[in-house]
């Protein structure tokens, strides 16, 4: 069946054949989503690309509908969100879907990134695929940050103030840049207006980059848990129905957890202070970003120098861009890297520690913990990864995917 890949499909339906002859969208779908040969040994981690795509579509759909009732005006924004919650038909549902959807989009993407890290999906020939993914992450962060400002609650306002002020760390032109970002001398109505415009725009740019991400993916096909390339039809299955159905199952399982949050604890992932209307005269006792930014926020605060903190925070993501060249191992999957495997898990623990530190005021043992975790984060990527790849002795790789699958089945 996989051998049909490459041969142009024949459509019996005359209309479809007519269109396809002029604009080969049906051939494309057939080739890339139907017969596309996909490694037969994916585990459930490989569902998270599809899950993230579903979340992106859901965020855009709910977002567009919310925008039909939202007022990007400092005087009206808070009340307009509450009007959506109270008076607009199904408004509470759409708003909670969007609000919690941001968190669950990040959960899906973070697991997707972990999958890439653990199984070495960033390694040749998939470096650009990985880098496009990092671009998507950056765009998501910008979108989420600006979206969080829109309800114009206390945390919206002060989050916007603190994060935009990061740019004042840039020598010489920093203050001018901040004024330019704000469109004024403080976060105010012009800031809210432009954040709304950009929050509406960026998701469509994300869609475009996701399209490139998928095109890049389909050049060499997916990586797999063994990290070895398929050698023939016995190693692959057609994408449809094998992975469409498996992805569908994964998506529904993910939606169950998501729905539990949306319907039964919709505010548990957010900060209560965002239900207090923005007040430029009073700062909340503690400014905490949304959970998905906490590790980066902890890195920012761990560095006692303003510019240094900002550079390290952006560096924490920038380092991901060069990850494919930092990893010197010839083996992709951590399943065959007996030492590095544990360091990847340690990195996950490290990021969780950073997250916990980011959630607490920088005092007591949180300060040394955050510093230590920051040091490990960069040590992991910049030193451990290049060095370990040279000295680690990988386990023997199976000769093919099919062989490994059959062996597992037998034993």
């Amino acid at each position: 069946m996989a051998s049909s890949h490459g041969a142009p499909p024949v459509f019996n339906n005359k209309v479809i054949a007519w269109i396809d002859h002029r604009l080969p969208i049906f051939s494309y779908i057939e080739k890339e989503y139907h017969t596309f040969p996909t490694p037969r040994n994916f585990n459930y981690f490989w569902n998270f690309g599809a899950i993230a795509t579903v979340m992106l579509v859901l965020m855009i759909a709910t977002g567009v509908v919310l925008a039909t009732n939202y007022q990007p005006n400092a005087e009206l924004a808070f009340a307009s969100v509450e009007r959506i919650m109270r008076d607009v038909p199904s408004g509470w549902l759409i708003r909670y879907l969007h609000m919690n959807g941001a968190s669950f989009f990040f959960i899906a993407v973070y697991i997707h990134i972990f999958r890439g890290l653990y199984y070495g999906s960033y390694k040749a020939p998939r470096e650009l695929l990985w880098m496009l993914g990092v671009v998507i992450l950056l765009l998501m962060m910008a979108t989420a940050f600006m979206g969080y400002v829109l309800p114009w609650g206390q945390m919206s306002f002060w989050g916007a103030t603190v994060i935009t002020n990061l740019f004042s760390a840039i020598p010489v032109v920093g203050d001018s840049i901040v004024t330019w970002l704000w469109g004024g001398f403080a976060v105010d109505n012009p800031t809210l207006n432009r954040f709304f415009a950009l929050h509406y725009l960026l998701p469509f740019i994300i869609v475009a980059v996701v399209a490139l991400h998928v095109v890049a993916l389909h050049v060499h096909g997916s990586n797999n848990p063994l990290g070895i390339d398929p050698k023939g039809p016995q190693d692959t299955v057609p994408f449809h129905p094998y992975y469409t159905m498996k992805d569908g199952f994964g998506v529904v399982c993910f939606l169950i957890v998501y729905a539990a949050f949306v319907f039964f604890m919709p505010n548990s992932l957010g900060d209560v202070a965002n239900y207090i209307p923005a007040n430029p005269m009073v700062t909340p006792n503690e400014i905490v970003p949304e959970w998905y930014f906490l590790p980066f926020y902890a890195i920012l605060r761990a560095i006692p120098d303003k510019l240094g903190g900002v550079l390290c925070m952006f560096g924490a993501i920038a380092v991901l861009f060069v990850l494919p060249w930092l990893d010197t191992s010839r083996v992709r999957s951590c399943s065959f890297r007996p030492i590095y495997k544990w360091f990847v898990l340690l990195l996950v623990a490290d990021v969780i520690v950073l997250g916990i530190c980011g959630a607490h005021p920088p005092e007591g043992w949180y300060v040394p913990a955050a510093r230590l975790a920051t040091v490990y984060y960069f040590f992991h990527f910049l030193i451990l990864l290049p060095v370990l790849g040279k000295i680690e002795r990988p386990l023997p790789l199976p000769s093919s995917i099919a062989e490994a699958v059959l062996k597992k089945k037998a034993g």
Partner: protein, 266 residues
């Protein structure tokens, strides 16, 4: 491939992601504050509903006590029908207040309220509210239950947490720098709260004959304010139960289909 192993990994990763998310919410637990009273609210949990009688009594407490200082900006009088009041009752409640308007000749006038009007504010603006209350405007109560850590338990704690000056220990007076004119509240950060004790036994006379003790008044008004914060909670719970059941069946069906499709590949 092994479903078992990969499922285990999935659960681990999910737990990690969720752990990360929970961290954000437990971030602000003040160290030396007493634990909030835990009340068994009618609206708790996935099957919770608002106790209409309690919420109606709570509205009476709000109207007769709280509304002297606290606005409820996001509510309309018409919303009260959701608490079980009839349209005529709501009309009468609205008509009881004079709301500012502008007549056909452009002159500012006052007219009797209508159900489509917002709840009347006690003060024309925030500055006036602050000026009348010793410099700090009493917060709007529309979403107060969602805007405080601890939610309904916090608001209940504040309403019932006052300790008179002569009942305070010398240590408390010293530590929190309390003077005779201060209001001491167990659950308020810093304990000295600007609001004098608002509720007490028999502060209102309930129309339904319920005995108006302090805890009764407090839990009633918190039920009312919880409804004001989240008026669609019941619809949300109902929809949620249906959605989750649907998704569970869907997941089961998809798993079976997936197994059938993969039967020859395992």
């Amino acid at each position: 491939m092994s479903i078992k192993l990969s499922t285990q990994r999935l659960i681990l990763a999910g737990a990690a992601a969720l752990a990360l998310s929970v961290v954000g919410t437990v971030a602000t637990a003040a160290e030396d504050m007493p634990a909030l009273p835990q009340h068994d609210w009618s609206f708790k949990g996935p099957f919770g509903t608002y106790d209409r009688a309690a919420a109606q009594r709570g509205f009476q407490v709000y109207k007769e006590v709280c509304s002297a200082c606290h606005s409820l900006d996001l509510l309309y009088y018409r919303n009260l029908t959701e608490l079980g009041l009839t349209e005529d009752q709501v009309k009468a409640i609205a008509a009881d207040v004079q709301v500012p308007d502008i007549n056909d000749d452009g002159q500012p006038i006052e007219r009797p309220g209508r159900p489509s009007d917002h709840f009347k504010k006690p003060f024309p603006n925030e500055a006036a509210a602050a000026a009348a209350n010793g410099g700090k405007a009493p917060p709007d109560l529309s979403v107060i239950v969602k805007a405080r850590e601890g939610g309904p338990n916090y608001v209940y704690g504040i309403l019932t947490g006052y300790v008179p000056y002569d009942k305070l220990t010398p240590e408390q007076i010293k530590e929190f720098n309390v003077s005779k004119d201060d209001n001491f509240n167990l659950y308020f950060l810093g304990h000295r709260i600007a609001m004098p004790q608002p509720l007490d036994d028999n502060k209102v006379t309930y129309v339904d004959g319920t005995k108006a003790t302090l805890p009764q008044e407090a839990s009633d008004v918190v039920t009312f304010l919880a409804w004001a914060s989240e008026p669609h909670l019941e619809a949300r719970n109902r929809t949620g139960v249906r959605v989750i059941l649907f998704l569970l069946v869907m997941a089961g069906l998809m798993y079976a289909t997936k197994r059938a499709i993969w039967a020859d590949k395992h």
